[in-house]
């Protein structure tokens, strides 16, 4: 059966926010800030970057944490501040908002493709997804594409990932949990 890809509503809203923003150059500039633990993924593609505004002469950047205890959040905030300063922006605030809670639905298609290239299975690389629970098997291997895989641990190198192993190519790999 052919599946028609549908963009989650939340992702569409994010995209509209960026498209209709009067400060496109700031969004583009912030694409340079990457997740320090997955350095191929920009904060926009990860879904952590929520909003960028310019009010009077102050730039306001809004980010949202992935997991409550994600230690990378402090680094992301610092990286944003360094980048803005380097680009001559002196007055800015970086605000953290908690609601609505971050979801992997905000991750862009480009981000998902970058994750796979980096060796991490993306949140939707699951056969027969039932709800958002991390499955015990059949997450698609980012190395060889096989779905003959098993979960080794519900937790992996960081809070946002689970550990799997491929039965065909034998490689272990991280799976970015769907939440």
């Amino acid at each position: 059966m052919q599946q028609i890809p549908v963009m989650p509503h939340e992702q569409y809203q994010r995209l509209q926010l960026r498209r209709n923003s009067p400060c496109a150059e700031l969004w583009d500039l912030l694409d340079e800030v990457k997740d320090p633990e997955i350095p191929v993924l920009s904060l926009w593609d990860l879904g952590v970057l929520r909003d960028v505004r310019r009010e009077d002469d102050t730039v306001q950047v809004t980010i949202t944490p992935t997991y409550s205890g994600c230690p990378a959040m402090d680094v992301m905030r610092e990286d944003i501040e360094i980048l803005l300063r380097q680009n001559g922006i002196k007055k800015f605030t970086v605000k953290t908002v908690l609601a609505p809670a971050w979801t992997t639905d905000w991750m862009t298609e480009k981000g998902r493709a970058q994750l796979r290239d980096y060796g991490i299975a993306a949140p939707n690389d699951v056969q027969c997804q039932s709800g958002k629970e991390t499955p015990e098997a059949n997450v698609r291997c980012p190395h060889c594409g096989s779905s003959h895989t098993d979960r080794v641990s519900e937790f992996a190198s960081t809070a946002c990932k689970a550990l799997f192993q491929c039965r065909d190519c034998s490689e272990p790999f991280d799976y970015f949990k769907n939440i």
């Binding site: 944490p65 997991y67 205890g69 609601a99 809670a101 641990s153 519900e154 937790f155 809070a159 949990k177």
Partner: protein, 260 residues
């Protein structure tokens, strides 16, 4: 000062107190779990416990940051975590008990995870938007934690004679600490009336039913012991908390304002 101003002040103080309590529960349990790092029974479990600890410590930071913002005296999250003494911590006692053996840690997590599932679901409805937002983040993590503590309870309870015995011992030892988590004082009653805090008593029966079902499946027995220990919310603690704080706060107090 008019009456309305003074009641405003009181309700704000109530809220700060409540937020600190939730932060204390999360920080102390998170610290206990972090003690497993490098001591886990095997690598994956070591990492899992470290990750769960991070979720709790992250939650405590959200609470302390909110308390700092509310109190507006130039305080930071670190002041609450590192510069308060034992009697000022108001966490429930179950969170401060030593980590024990692996069965003990899993039994505690099961009790706390089932509790948090109901508690955070109720807190989602809080009229306080920040608390509702903290709950919305926490509930996703709690569901993940609960799945794991449930599976471990089944595996250990229905495992070998030794794993079964250790689980049963842990459950019996912890049971008396599960009563105070459903109780509240006047501060919380006022916040419950205002639609801000959670009345845990409302889901106590459901908690017992959930826990009993998991224990039965794991061939474990729900204790019928009638002892209960309480005092955490008033700042009366077991001797274990002071030792935990000594270790946790040492560096910050020895080198005030140190940065890295």
């Amino acid at each position: 000062m008019s009456t309305s101003q003074s009641s405003d002040h009181d309700s704000k103080q109530d809220l700060i107190n409540y937020v600190l309590r939730l932060g204390d529960d999360a920080l102390i349990l998170g610290h206990r779990l972090s003690e497993w790092v490098s001591r886990g029974p095997f690598l994956e479990e070591d990492i899992a416990l470290g990750n769960v600890a991070l979720d709790y410590i992250g939650r405590s930071r959200m609470c302390y940051n909110y308390a700092a913002e509310l109190s507006g005296e130039g305080k930071t999250e670190d002041d609450f975590a590192y510069l308060r003494d034992e009697r000022q911590f108001q966490n429930f006692l179950i969170n401060e008990l030593p980590r024990g053996d692996f069965a003990y840690t899993i039994a505690r997590q099961l009790f706390v995870d089932v509790f948090n599932k109901h508690y955070l679901s109720a807190l989602l409805q809080s009229k306080d938007q920040t608390l509702a937002a903290i709950a919305a983040k926490g509930i996703k993590e709690t569901q993940y934690h609960l799945r794991r503590s449930r599976e471990w309870t089944l595996r250990l309870g229905d495992g070998t004679d030794e794993s079964h015995q250790r689980m049963q011992t842990a459950i019996d030892e912890l049971w008396g600490y599960t009563h105070e988590i459903f109780e509240h004082d006047d501060i919380e009653q006022r916040l419950i009336d205002a639609g801000i805090a959670v009345d845990a008593a409302a889901f106590q029966k459901q908690w017992l039913a959930d826990v009993s079902a998991i224990l039965a499946e794991a061939t474990l027995t729900v204790p019928d012991a009638e002892w209960a220990v309480r005092g955490g919310r008033e700042g009366y603690h077991t001797e274990h908390l002071s030792l935990l704080l000594t270790e946790m706060q040492f560096v910050y107090r020895a080198y005030p304002n140190a940065k890295w």
